[in-house]
């Protein structure tokens, strides 16, 4: 018995180890089929239906319960103990008294039984078999123990690693594709990852990197091969093309840049020094012309790289602007004016000159064209006969200098007005023996006036005193500087030198009456002039010209010459144009119908313009300046309102004027009908310019 027994439970020990996973009850059973014949049904189900009651309750009966059909299960006849002893398999048999049958234990069952008896697990597994080492209690550790149960993630494929692998595969240029793949299979147990990668490769997500092309061969093909077509361009592209400004090409080198330039291009010592001392930005050229007598002596140019770099900088940082290059000849800019030859006659040469005894401040030409009156510094008015400029008479009007003189515009009378000191003197030149008898009569009549002795009437600003048939003196409160006749010959206006307050006074000869009509706006008046046909008066202050209607007593216009200081004023015989000379070198032509701004500004002198005058009949005007020149110009005025005045400078007269550098022509006068011009100045000379061909 004992010899048999150890074999059976141990049989399986070796075998069980070898194929652990295959151990199953049935199979073991199969193996020992030959040994044990067994009732199939008995092993599976209970035959007895009495339930879970003690069997001893049936001790008194011959049956032990009921089967499924309801029949009594008759207690079988048990083997005698002797028979049992004789049976060699008796040790395997177990009596099931509930079902009244004997069960034969299989090897497995025996094993389990033996395990249970040994205090082991019933199932034959690895863990169970191991000896349990008491981790915690066997030895004392200095470090804390790891968690005894490992987390699940340790046993699942890592996502992060998979991602890394994918990346590795992406960048796998060093190995051929097949090697890469096989290596993958080796390294990755994870089949799923491999499948993923394969899929990615097929989908084109993982691309085998192309072999890098050699640097130089990168662009050896024809970019312009395809048909070049302008129609392909979109609107924006076309717009960009329009806006594109090509970089200007570099200037090409000239002779001076040569390694062996002509000798005249070589810099002098001084130029060389200047170039070397100048800042690089200030130099005219970035190199200094140098001569080498043979090519082998030419050194490297030190700033070659720098200059290239600067060109590069220019190309991408410089602002590009399209600049219209003027392809015009500068001569074309000069306006095409009619030639002065066509506009003759005009005064161009000095035909006669006379010397006055004292400096001349002002001259005036009698409207009949015979006598020229000159206001002198010593209080005389001197009369010169035209054209020989012979002094025919002189008349001391005042102790002080005569500032201004003006003939009465009536041609048949020889009456003039002059201002000296605070008085305006109206003189009869006939009393000095000038003119004919008829002139004398007319003059006397004019001077006599209507009602004599009414000089104390109210509002009379001047004090009238008279010398029978000779002169009338109007004493004003302030010193006069300028006098102007009205075309009728009855009124005259005077301007006071002191410009504060109202400085313009209007005198009526026939009534012996003076008044100051412009209380405020007459302030700071410089020059005054009457309109030749209409009841207008022009009063020039320093910067403006005001035009008043004397009848309606309203301001008609205010003209703005844009000047700082007006020096003189001349009204065109038509009355529609005005010539304004200014001390700031400008001569303004006003067209009164056009605008209150100048129609034309002529900057024709280098210094202050003293006086400008229209010719009474001819389309001429002249202006004289401190720079010693007189400019004679053609100034044609048309009746057609649509046609602007034509202004043509004709002649600059400067050669034959006097010696003194300054103030050589301060005043001028025109002959009433001929193109003759008189000028005079402080140097006591009077000139007559005539038209000589």
């Amino acid at each position: 018995m004992e010899g048999d027994e150890p074999g059976s439970p141990v049989v399986s020990d070796d075998e069980a180890d070898s194929d652990l996973e295959k151990v199953e009850f049935e199979e073991v059973g199969d193996e020992i089929d030959g040994l044990i014949e067994e009732d199939d049904s008995s092993s599976d189900e209970e035959k007895n239906t009495i339930g879970d009651i003690p069997i001893r309750w049936y001790d008194g009966y011959d049956h032990i319960g009921y089967n499924r059909e309801g029949k009594q299960i008759i207690r079988g006849k048990r083997k005698s103990p002797l028979e049992e002893i004789l049976d060699p398999n008796a040790w395997r048999r177990v009596y099931d008294e509930r079902n009244d049958e004997e069960l034969v234990l299989t090897d497995k069952e025996l094993d389990v039984v033996s395990r249970i008896r040994a205090g082991q697990y019933t199932g034959r597994t690895t863990e169970g078999d191991e000896e349990i080492v008491p981790w915690t209690s066997s030895k004392i550790e200095i470090h804390p123990l790891p968690e005894p149960t490992e987390p699940k993630r340790r046993f699942t494929p890592s996502k992060h690693e998979a991602a890394k692998v994918e990346k590795c595969i992406e960048s796998w240029p060093a190995y051929t594709w097949t090697v890469a793949f096989s290596l993958l299979l080796i390294f990755l147990r994870n089949v799923i990852q491999v499948v993923k990668i394969v899929r990615a490769i097929r989908a084109g997500l993982i691309v085998k990197p192309a072999k890098a092309e050699k640097y130089g061969n990168l662009y050896s093909f024809d970019v312009w091969e395809e048909k070049e077509d302008d129609e392909e361009k979109s609107k924006t592209e076309q717009a960009r093309d329009l806006m594109r400004i090509h970089a200007p090409k570099e200037p090409l080198p000239g002779h001076a840049e040569s390694y062996n330039p002509p000798a005249e291009y070589l810099p002098t010592e001084q130029e060389r020094k200047e170039w070397e001392e100048a800042e690089p930005e200030d130099r005219k050229t970035n190199f200094l012309p140098t001569k080498y007598d043979s090519l082998r002596k030419v050194p490297a140019y030190p700033t070659f790289i720098r200059e290239r770099f600067e060109r590069c900088l220019d190309l991408y940082t410089a602002v590009r602007v399209r600049k219209e290059k003027l392809r015009i000849n500068p001569e074309d800019l000069i306006p095409k004016l009619p030639s002065p030859e066509e506009l003759k006659p005009f005064p161009n040469y000095v035909s006669c000159s006379a010397t006055c005894k004292s400096p001349v401040l002002s001259i005036s030409m009698h409207p009949a064209g015979q006598f020229l009156a000159a206001a002198c510094d010593d209080g005389f008015v001197r009369f010169f006969e035209v054209p020989v400029l012979k002094c025919v008479a002189e008349w001391q009007l005042h102790e002080e200098a005569i500032v201004n003189v003006d003939w009465c515009p009536k041609p048949n009378v020889l009456v003039f007005a002059a201002c000296a000191g605070p008085s305006v003197i109206i003189g009869n030149a006939c009393s000095e023996g000038l003119g004919t008898e008829a002139n004398a009569i007319d003059s006397r009549a004019l001077l006599a006036g209507d009602e004599i002795g009414d000089n104390v009437s109210q509002g009379n600003e001047g004090e009238w005193t008279e010398e029978e048939d000779k002169s009338v003196e109007i004493k004003l409160k302030r010193r006069a500087r300028n006098v102007a006749w009205h075309h009728g010959g009855d009124y005259l206006a005077s301007v006071a030198r002191d410009t504060t307050g109202s400085s313009v006074a209007i005198h009526r000869l026939s009534k012996r009456q003076s008044q100051v009509p412009f209380k405020k706006s007459g302030a700071s008046a410089q020059v005054v002039s009457f309109h030749p046909s209409r009841p207008f008066i022009f009063i020039a202050s320093k910067q403006h010209i005001r035009v008043y209607n004397l009848q309606k007593q309203v301001l008609v216009k205010k003209l703005l010459p844009g000047a700082r200081w007006i020096s003189s004023l001349s009204v065109h015989p038509s009355g529609d144009h005005l010539l304004v000379a200014t001390y700031d070198m400008k001569l303004c032509w006003f067209d009164l119908d056009l605008s209150n701004l100048p129609y034309k500004i002529l900057r024709n002198h280098d210094e202050a313009i003293r006086e400008a005058r229209f010719h009474p009949k001819l389309p001429l005007f002249a202006d004289c300046s401190d720079d010693g020149t007189v400019l004679v110009s053609h100034g044609m005025v048309y009746n057609d309102l649509l046609q602007n005045a034509l202004i043509v400078p004709l002649k600059r007269i400067d050669k034959n004027l006097a010696e003194t550098p300054k103030l050589r022509a301060t005043t001028l006068a025109w002959h009433p009908s001929l193109p003759w011009l008189f000028t005079s100045s402080g140097d006591k000379k009077i000139y007559l310019f005539t038209n000589v061909n």
Binding site: P173, Y215, G216, L218, Y219, F221, D222, V223, W224, E228, D230, T236, A239, R240, M243, A247, K249, E250, P253, G254, H255, S258, Y259, N260, P262, A263, E264, Y265, L266, F287, S294, L295, R296, V298, A300, Y301, F304, I305, R306, R308, F309, C312, L313, Y316, T317, V319, R320, P330, L333, I334, P335, K336, L337, P340, K600, L602, V648, P649, L650, R652
Partner: protein, 564 residues
């Protein structure tokens, strides 16, 4: 009343954008923006009104919008990210990552930009000057940290290829040796291209230059030149890439004449084809006419850029040998381009120094080393350049060995615009016009000159020819002195008349100027000022020349006196 206008919707504010705003819009760093601008050829503009301040740089808004669609923009961002990755890997000492990164640098190509900036090939040809100059410069630079050797090599290759093309087709028309470098001018496709190559010396790299900017330009120019080279070679039936002899750096072109002949043949073939087409479709539709026109244009263009215009080359038939001291590569290029066969003192030279048929020896030494060969002529390098510029073979005596050279004149100067013609140029002009007497004179003069002292030669600034001419003038004036006096009175009278008339005209003009508006007067004065300045310069040059000549005449007189 209309609705109030919104700010920044129209006008300058909408059409222009400041650089800072552009950077923000493109999300680029300034350096990257500059790079992109260089590659795309975008430059600042000047709005009429600088709405954001005068110190700012303005760009066209359209340009910036255009940049927004540039594929390169993405690439630039990628590169920026890549750089950051590398930096990070370095800092973390992740050697593996670094290695992988370094191996996988993002690359890009810019061929589309070339196509975009130069839609047609002729557009590209028009803008080759800067590209060629920069490439020619870079080929001579030493490789440095930022200037990689492969770039330099590529530049060298491109320059060689281009020069080879120019030489083969004979399209070089002018050369000018300046103190800065050598200027070449070639006519390709009807366009004149001028580039400058520095003298062959090791260039010192200045430190105050931003090489990144130049390298970016170079990147574009390399690409452009590659395409141009490819196109030039392939359209002219030449093999590309050409066979290069790397060791000497010379292009080993099998036969210049063959290439040329082939080219001519092609032209002829095209013309024939065209004629055939004419005959076939004489009464065809308008489309054909258009095509014909195109074809015609092509043919003329080709004939322009190739040999068509220039049948006889200056040096054709010559065999020239170059001395060791001469700038060999430049001379080889120029001589080959004008039809000569060239040999030099070195390896791979197609001609050896004792070749039987040699006609010229280019030498740049004071004396001939060894024995003088009587079967050939010795000339200084300037002879080559001057001959090309004048498109004739100049007399070699003027350029003989050890002789004081005549001035080397720029072929790019427009005499009329400049207003001053150097004496030597006038002489060359006469020479070209075929004044045979002049030729003899000059030869005599040169011989005289060569007898002079060496010291004198060095001092002498003018060439001997000028002297000769001058002396001739002196003689002439001496002979006719008496007659002159007789005529003087009459001349004076007529002169006076003319003068008065002129004066009158001048005066009336002066007066007419008074009638100019201020704007016009200012403009006029500026123009006149410019003119005067130029004439002033010309006057200065003329004065100096006179001074030099009188000095020389004096010197000669004293010398002759001492001799006698």
């Amino acid at each position: 009343m209309g609705r109030e206008k919104k700010k920044g919707v129209s006008g300058n504010a909408a059409n222009y954008i400041t650089r800072a705003k552009a950077l923000r819009k493109l999300q680029l760093s300034l350096a990257d923006f500059r790079r992109l601008c260089i590659l795309k050829g975008i430059y600042p503009r000047e709005p009429k009104k600088k709405f954001d301040g005068v110190t700012k740089t303005y760009y066209l808004t359209k340009d910036i919008q255009f940049l927004l669609h540039e594929p390169l923009l993405g690439k630039i961002r990628e590169i920026r990210a890549y750089r950051q990755k590398i930096k990070r890997a370095r800092a973390k000492k992740e050697q593996g990552t670094l290695k992988t990164l370094l191996r996988n640098k993002p690359t890009y190509k810019i061929d589309h930009i070339v196509r975009e900036r130069y839609p047609t090939f002729s557009d590209a040809l028009r803008d080759m000057d800067d590209a060629l100059s920069l490439v020619h410069m870079f080929q001579h630079l030493p490789s440095e940290k930022s200037i990689k050797p492969h770039r330099i090599q590529n530049c060298e290759r491109l320059a060689k290829e281009f020069q080879n093309y120019v030489a083969t087709t004979g399209s070089l028309d002018k050369v000018f040796v300046s103190v800065k470098g050598i200027y070449y001018s070639a006519r390709i496709g009807g366009e004149r291209t001028v580039w400058v190559e520095p003298h062959r010396f090791t260039q010192e790299l200045p430190t105050d230059v931003d090489y990144r900017v130049m390298l970016t330009f170079l990147e574009f120019y390399e690409c452009l030149l590659s395409f141009v080279n490819y196109r030039l070679y392939t359209t002219n039936g030449m093999p590309y890439p050409p066979k290069m002899d790397r060791t000497e750096g010379k292009v080993d072109q099998p036969d210049v004449e063959a290439g040329r002949a082939k080219h001519v043949q092609e032209n002829i073939a095209e013309i024939l084809k065209k004629q055939e087409a004419d005959e076939d479709d004489e009464d065809n539709s308008e489309n054909d006419d258009e095509e014909e026109l195109k074809m015609e244009g092509e043919v003329t263009q080709q004939s322009n850029d190739g040999t068509g215009g220039k049948e006889i080359l200056v040096f054709s038939g010559l065999k020239v040998f170059l001395g060791r001291e001469t700038p060999v590569s430049a001379l080889v290029f120029v001589l080959r381009a004008q039809g000569a066969k060239v040999g030099w003192d070195g390896e791979n030279s197609p001609l050896s120094s004792d070749e039987p048929g040699l006609t010229h020896w280019v030498i740049d030494r004071p004396a001939i080393p060894g024995k003088r060969r009587m079967d050939l002529e010795y000339v200084q390098p300037q002879w080559v350049f001057d001959s090309v510029n004048n498109s004739t073979l100049l007399p070699t005596a003027i350029y003989g060995i050890g002789v004081t050279l005549p001035p080397h004149l720029s072929p790019f100067v427009d005499d009329e615009a400049e207003g001053y013609v150097p004496k030597y140029k006038a002489y060359l002009q006469r020479l070209r016009e075929g004044d045979s007497e002049l030729f003899k004179e000059s030869a005599v003069a040169v011989n005289d000159d060569s007898d002079e002292d060496v010291d004198d030669l060095e001092n002498a600034d003018e060439n001997s020819e000028a002297e000769e001419e001058e002396s001739e003038n002196e003689d002439g004036s001496g002979g006719s002195e008496d007659e002159d006096e007789d005529d003087e009175m009459e001349e004076d009278l007529s002169k006076d008349m003319a003068e008065t008339k002129e004066e009158g005209e001048k005066e009336s003009e002066e007066l007419a100027k008074l009638m100019m508006s201020r704007k016009k007067r200012n403009l006029y004065e500026r123009m006149v000022h410019g003119k005067n300045r130029k004439s002033e310069e010309v006057r200065k040059l003329e004065e100096r020349r006179e001074e030099i000549e009188t000095k020389k005449a004096k010197k000669r007189r004293t010398r002759s006196e001492t001799k006698s």
